[in-house]
């Protein structure tokens, strides 16, 4: 701990407050949300990409559907 009158950088001076807040916030999460739930959320993250807008399909691409040779745009 620094003495009075000594120059101490701002961040170090209040580091104890920061640590206190962090402990309180983390304890809030660990009390309200189980570790298992957090893990499940992390595992589910890649699935979110499914909700991303897919790249636009080439409307001129050739597709074969039910024996028909078509342009993709024929199917819209």
């Amino acid at each position: 701990m620094a003495c009075l009158g000594e120059h101490v950088p701002f961040r170090e001076r209040y580091a104890w407050i920061e640590a206190l807040i962090e402990r309180r916030v983390m304890s809030f999460f660990t009390r309200k949300i189980s570790r298992r739930t957090i893990m499940q959320a992390l595992i589910a993250l890649p699935a979110l990409s499914l909700f991303r807008k897919p790249p636009a399909a080439d409307p001129d691409a050739i597709v074969e559907v039910n024996g028909w040779i078509l342009k993709r745009s024929d199917l819209t």
Binding site: E64, V65, G67, W68, L75
Partner: protein
């Protein structure tokens, strides 16, 4: 001169230098060429001037493998041979048809298209053909090709008068060469059967077998057996690599504008792959025949499309109302991969009235051909889409891997191979001049010498090869 029996011919003491067996397109063409060159030639025709059931009965046989036509129906045994039921469709094998294909074993001819080109003007005169227009590439993969539907020359009708007046050509009807005798170097004579009886033997300096794409193999197989290998000394390939042009309806097309292609008098147009497409997909040659669909057929096609692409179906309905000629059936004819297992054998149990074993034809389509059919339709469909010319639907039996339909054309009545041309004596029967390997005086004419079949009807190429063989023999004999 035309004689109705061997007895009548024998009475005139005509000494022939060359004996041609068979009076179909190949036999008649070779005889006319030799006659015009001043070489005396006799043509022995097993049948008479007209069709008869008794004569056709000699052609009965059995087929083992895929369904095929009755062997006494698919060819004709009378003067003019199978030209008497020929539809007259003409096209010459393409240059690429003569080339070996790395992906298809035993392909490639010992001659090229350039070797028969000089004879095409003669062929056009014989078959009464206009000039062919060049192929039109409609994409990198598909060519719009021309298949001329000629007046279907009946060789007996067209040339009977000329042959009758000829001093150098004697046509002897009702005279069946049941076997050739040979000593491993030369044919020494032919055993004859005329008007239902053994007619003794006949000899000439040269023999040319032109009895048809099935019968050539039968005659040589039987002759070789009777002469202990003295007629075809290298007989490994004899009867083998037999080919047809299988033909099936492979799907339908709806065209944006049917008049995009100049169709022939029966509203048909023809398409084939480029060599590059065949190489890329490793498939054989094929021909797609676009035939105008009757109106009720169009409605069912559009109803089917409506389930898959409703807007497209709506557009096509509009086209239909604008132009009643916008839909077509797609018939595909393809080149068979030459296989040694597709072969003509002599029956072990059945003989004809003259005692010659009948044919047992072993014939089966291969997986490569199935792929050719399917990929060919895909290529054509893709080209129509890319060029916005229309849309193609491939038949269900093809996309589902079903069996070939049994209620369709099956094939073209084109009998090819069996005495194929080549340099390897284990894989061919005749050399580049159609002379049987190892024999000095035995030649073969007709589509049995084809190494590969291409996709087009064979008569034009048969006639060109016959002109070439007639020319060659004339030079050999004249030398």
């Amino acid at each position: 001169m035309i004689f109705d029996s061997y007895e009548a011919f024998r009475a005139v003491n005509f000494t022939a230098k060359v004996c041609v067996l068979g009076s179909g397109p190949a036999g008649t063409t070779i005889a006319r060429k030799l006659g015009a060159a001043g070489i005396p030639v006799v043509v022995l025709e097993a049948g008479s001037r007209e069709f008869s059931d008794d004569s056709q009965d000699f052609y009965r046989g059995v087929t083992v493998g895929d369904p095929y036509f009755d062997l006494d129906i698919t060819r004709l045994r009378f003067m003019g041979g199978s030209s008497n039921h020929w539809a007259g469709w003409c096209r010459v094998l393409d240059s690429q048809d003569f080339e070996p294909k790395a992906w298809a074993p035993d392909t490639g001819w010992p001659i090229g298209r350039a070797d028969i080109e000089p004879y095409l003007p003669e062929v056009h005169e014989i078959l009464e053909l206009p000039d062919f227009r060049p192929d039109v590439p409609i994409s990198d993969d598909i060519r719009w090709v021309q298949l001329i539907k000629s007046p279907a020359v009946r060789f007996s009708e067209k040339f009977a008068d000329e042959l009758d007046k000829s001093r150098n050509v004697a046509v002897v009807l009702n005279t069946y060469a049941t076997e050739l005798a040979g000593d491993g170097k030369r044919v020494t004579g032919a055993r004859l059967w005329s008007n239902g009886n053994d007619a003794g033997s006949f000899t000439a300096d040269y023999f040319v077998v032109c009895t048809g794409g099935l019968e050539n193999s039968r005659l040589l197989l039987w002759s070789n057996r009777r002469s202990n290998g003295g007629v075809v000394p290298n007989s490994t390939a004899l009867g083998r690599y037999w080919m047809e042009h299988p033909t099936f309806e492979g799907g339908n097309a709806i065209l944006a504008d049917y008049s995009e292609f100049e169709v022939d008098a029966t509203n048909e147009a023809f398409f084939s792959p480029t060599l590059a497409a065949m190489e890329r997909l490793e498939i054989m040659n094929f021909g797609i025949r676009l035939i105008e669909t009757p109106y009720p057929g169009i409605k069912s096609i559009i109803a089917d499309l409506a389930c898959t692409a409703p807007e497209m179906a709506e557009w096509m309905s509009y086209q239909l109302s604008q132009n009643l000629r916008c839909a077509a059936q797609l018939y595909v004819t393809w080149e068979q991969a030459p296989l040694a297992s597709n072969q003509i054998l002599l029956s072990k149990t059945d003989v004809d009235h003259a005692g010659v074993p009948r044919i047992e034809l072993h014939w089966k389509k291969s997986e490569l051909e199935r792929r050719t059919l399917l990929e060919g339709l895909r290529l054509f469909g893709t080209t129509l889409v890319q060029k916005d010319l229309g849309r193609v639907r491939i038949a269900d039996w093809l996309t589902n891997g079903g069996d070939y339909p049994t209620n369709e054309e099956l094939a073209g009545h084109h009998h090819m191979g069996g005495t194929r041309m080549g340099t390897d004596v284990t894989k061919s029967v005749v050399d580049a001049n159609s002379k049987v390997h190892g024999m000095d005086n035995l030649y073969v004419g007709g589509s049995s010498v084809f190494c590969t079949s291409g996709e087009c009807n064979p008569t034009t190429t048969i006639t060109a090869l016959a002109c070439r063989l007639g020319d060659h023999l004339g030079k050999v004999i004249g030398a």
